[in-house]
Symmetry: D2
Subunit: 405 residues, 4 copies
């Protein structure tokens, strides 16, 4: 805690916690704080963060507020979606995938302003501290990292608020009491965890959800949409081309309306314990289903099965914070190569919390009605070939059977 | 086709196709046919098969009609469910898992009646021929296998019906014309494929579905159920203990009511082409979700992630017909070992096609509220440990970063 | 056998078997035969093949004799070596890796001369038929493939020789009797199998070896060499830069002298049976050891372990003939990405059949004496970090231990 | 450092370092020290450890000296050998596999003597601290672990020796100066690392080796031996049945004589850095080759390839200290199941540092000369089957080729 620090770039949301951190950094390290606030589509006003930072003495030229939405979706979310990534079979990695981008931008700013340290507001029990810091270290191996939650003695809400008041940091009324749960949001998802969610047997209370309507309150009529893909990425909805962030936002709106993408999960954190979270990933859930559907038509079996076998590892790497690692990049190279011909259209029905693929077509389809048909295929496939195929597949099992009987 | 065959055991459904096969075997091989009809919960009367077989000259003691439902669910479906097996990310393997049991029983009967051959009615384009025959060969390496669809010249529906009429095989009215699609059913699922389903862009017509109501017609109120697990297998619903087959049937009824478990899929067949199928797996879909949920609480991360990585391979083995193979048994041994403490209760909400986990509890839970809590954990977890953890995780990335910058 | 064929490109070695095939094709299909003879460094005169082909009526412009040595080593052997590929833990895939190149060139020639078929001399029991034909079909899906060994009735040596004599094909004296084993050779290796090698308990007789001296007869003094790598490929030996084929030839010579690279193996063929073979891969064995050594210094752990996990699959794909498959290309993309900084020098000692790495250095080394040293590291590594690292690694095991005790 | 400790079980070698630790524990924690010295075949007198411990005030009933050689080889080394485990392609895991057994016995003793802590002498930079402590925590989640090297301030050799002299701990003459490298030994191997070995370009000096003669000094005549296996484990050499530890000792003697099992390796430590080590694993190297050879004959391809794919993960788990983890146990269950019929005899030639398999036979062989033979096989294999096999293997590649051309 006592290494001299001259200038630190703080990932700053403008909220109470990171405001306290801002002040604490100034005081503890007697250093200049540079704030960085990213717009990842979390749906909050960011300008108030500027005012607050200024009020706490941050120089105007040291306040960075960046709109990273397109970069986030185009360079992080979509590549991950190409992998059909699901952590522990279910989680679409909405928080995990945002951290490396924040870390990267923070390091870029640190270089620009010649800072010697970076800091974040993630706690010592969670995955996010790991994700931030692995990103920092991978991109700037000799940067100093300050994680106040692991260092300070503000170990209770009361202590935090006392510190804020003592240092003239405004405490919003609704932050006075303990929040009933904590959230993280970006264009891909909102996650909620803690407190009222800590009993995994208790149903998630309705007020926790913010990005989707309850499926029971969704429209009684299904809605059919069409998503177009190019090289594995979605490029249009219902014929309307969109940028990555715009497209994801549009899918989010559709998902919200139809109550799609809620997930109640008990997951295994990288730091070793289980936690219970609730995720809302409306657009991402639709996209995941659609991407699998277009791959069904356009990916060869060998490529598809290899992708399925590599996916759990890939998802684990992202969850654990290893986006900037050689092994993630190797897997990405393999995955991306497979997407060259993943082009075409998927038709989906959205209804009461469900996403149902009902059709897919592609100029690059590998599906051959002529070969598969129950009707006469005019010699496209010789059924007699199957006899030899099975005979040789069986040979080792027969040798085995003869030995073991 | 001309090897002498004395006695052949035919997997006989009693339908038109296998009746034609029965007759064709008698004529072509001049041999005795033994019929075996399995009750796997396909929901058809099986006694008519006896009458038909007798009518075609099969000796009464050579007609086997066996109720295999408990064995099917207990020894095949549940072990597979322990693996969370999904082929190509989505398919619950309802047809694939039934084939090895049929093959096994057929071989047992062949031994009993001293038959020298077995036969089945699967076509030369599909996966089922492979699954049947790999099962036969693994269990009886020197058995002769007769696959009429790959041998005879009845290559059109018309030819088949002509053959039937010529040999006094009754042709049901509704079989005169071409069926608009073909189905396979058992206690786990019904699959449909062919003809009207061959265009993957065209939505599956409503009349194809037989096991589930349309989600739009499902009840407007969700239903909450509780499933209890022991050693990874479900043993009770809403407190009522049931045998495996009874339990799956009860889940099927719940799934049917709420429109759960429909899947429109383009998949990669083992024989090399893509096909489009529609699956209804009402109970299995509920079970899959519930099993994952109870594992979330009771499986260690190491076990859970290893299972996730092995799963695609395991599912592929079953899909391809390698149930009776050393590698499937090795994977099963690993999976089964992991299930010792997979005990507890899962609460699910069924609604309009969706299965939503809303709670889980276990006497063997690894979830520790004390460790994970946002509140003071009284030293259960020392946040300072995370610093060292991250530092060492990052070390290789830092060495890499230093080299590459 | 009776489809009309106009022109067929035959993979022609000039030996007795493919000469008989040449004639048989002309007679059976009444077609024009185009011969293709590849120099892959097998160490045989190729011009006699031209004379023989002409003698059997092949048009001079339809005789192709190509030196593919540089392409073979640069585009096939080296990419495979980047993966450290070993089939079943031991086999360096010398035969497997040559087949796709022959198939590719054969298809190119077929396009040039507008042939409608290709043919090869591999038997119906081996892997090579699969490798050739998967290559053909992948590159020219609609080509006709003729595999005489699976078609004709020349099922004994006697019948083959009678056919040759009947058609004025010269039969070398030493081919009159049955050869005691069969071989395949190229710049990477020589394989031997069959007959005297068929008893896996009997030691391989000394006369079978052709590429290496017996280790017991190798020099009594070890020889030390240095191999330089760039981007994962070897580029120089003892400071002398060489082209790929020249370099491999030089390593072969070194390996031959020191009795390096003999392998007596019982392996599993793709077609389902076990076979026993003897391989001599002198240069490849040295290269394999050297490549692993330079990776030890320059590959990050994440990349290295991922490569090790993917390797068996990659080797199996090559062994089974799937070089031209999306999944092999995906794995290659991942592997190649990892090799960017695999640069440096490896020092090896060759002695009496053994290759011993004794040193390695690199401008891109990730090895840090400063970090690893037993002596004071001036803060490069804080041993206290290890406590937290272990604590969090242990957390899940402790929760498990508490539950299970 | 200041938690009260009553009684601590120390893994005590009797050497200078652990003697200093013994004293330091007594002083720092003011607690009773219980010593545990394991005979794992390291080839040292253990009784002096008793005298030393007594001299430093350890109660006689608190001095444990256990011969664990049979348990070590039978329950740890052999199960690992069944997996053909190699870390990073080369390392036979000789140190890694000993740690869990020491940890397990230490915990058993802690329970017996009602100790509340355990301690070891591994440093803060290495893997062994992790292996010990993960073992402790898995078996006794609430034990206190004391790792003096991470706690104390004896950071130089001089400080350590000063401490020893100050506390009347005898310092052997040869320990006064800095040792030129550090070693670990047990029945499976001796490892050496540090100081003179820290430059990976410099050849390992001859005086570092202690378990093997230099291959150049090995006998000029090869020696042929036969090893018999039962269920995957070796049970006899040259017809002589032996217990596990005796057998491994005999193989060590053979390996020593012929200079077998030296390995110069740069490896990736779990704690994040690369290190260079030298390993001598004479008997283990022979055993590894022999086990692969007997598997070649008796393991089905499916089992063999699955084992090869799982092996790198399995080896990594052992290297990283996760012997007592559910995922290692799952993999072991799969591996052990595969070994039921791994029975038979392997013949090997030992010569000048090399182990050469020259024959293998088994009552449970899956190798069929009848099927594989180049000569007439009397219908054991129908070469025509290969045509269909290839056709269906090729189908997806042809569909792909048609699309992409």
């Amino acid at each position: 805690m006592t290494d001299p620090v001259n200038r630190v770039v703080l990932a700053y949301s403008g909220g109470l916690d990171t405001s306290v951190i801002l002040k604490w950094l100034q005081q503890t390290y007697n250093c200049e704080v540079v704030t960085f606030t990213a717009d990842l589509g979390q749906g909050e006003e960011l300008e108030p963060a500027r005012a607050k930072a200024e009020m706490m003495g941050v120089k105007p030229e040291h306040i960075f507020i960046d709109d990273l939405r397109e970069e986030f979706v185009g360079d992080y979310v979509f590549p991950m979606m190409r992998a059909n990534a699901l952590y522990e079979g279910l989680y679409l990695l909405g928080t995990s995938i945002a951290r490396p981008l924040i870390a990267k931008r923070q390091i870029e700013i640190a270089r620009m302003v010649e800072a010697d340290a970076v800091s974040h507001g993630a706690t010592g029990k969670g995955n996010d501290q790991v994700r931030f810091e692995l990103g920092y270290y991978a991109l700037a191996p000799d940067i100093k990292v300050i994680a106040p939650w692991r260092e300070w003695d503000l170990t209770s809400r009361t202590a935090l608020i006392a510190y804020a008041e003592q240092h003239q940091i405004p405490v919003p009324k609704d932050k006075r009491g303990e929040a009933p749960f904590s959230t993280d949001a970006n264009l891909l998802h909102t996650s909620s965890e803690g407190l009222v969610l800590e009993d995994p047997w208790a149903e998630v209370p309705g007020y926790v959800f913010s990005r989707t309507v309850d499926p029971e309150d969704a429209p009684d009529r299904p809605q059919v949409i069409e998503i177009e893909f190019e090289h594995g990425d979605p490029i249009a909805i219902d014929g309307l081309s969109m940028t990555p962030a715009t497209l994801l936002a549009a899918l989010n709106e559709l998902g919200r309306t139809h109550g799609i993408g809620r997930l109640d999960l008990v997951e295994n954190r990288f730091v070793g314990m289980k936690s219970r979270g609730m995720y809302e990933t409306p657009g991402g859930t639709i996209l995941h289903a659609a991407h699998r559907a277009i791959e069904q038509l356009t990916l060869d079996r060998g490529a598809a099965h290899l992708k399925d076998e590599l996916m759990p590892r890939y998802a684990e790497l992202i969850y654990n914070g290893f986006w900037f690692s050689p092994e993630r990049e190797m897997l990405q190279a393999a995955i991306d190569l497979s997407q060259k011909k993943v082009n075409g259209m998927v038709r989906l029905k959205l209804y009461k919390g469900g996403v149902h693929v009902i059709g897919r077509q592609s100029p690059d389809s590998l599906y051959s009605e002529k070969v598969v048909t129950f009707e006469d295929d005019a010699g496209a496939y010789d059924q007699r070939d199957a006899a030899g195929f099975i005979k040789l597949q069986a040979l080792r099992l027969r040798l085995l059977g003869r030995r073991d009987q």
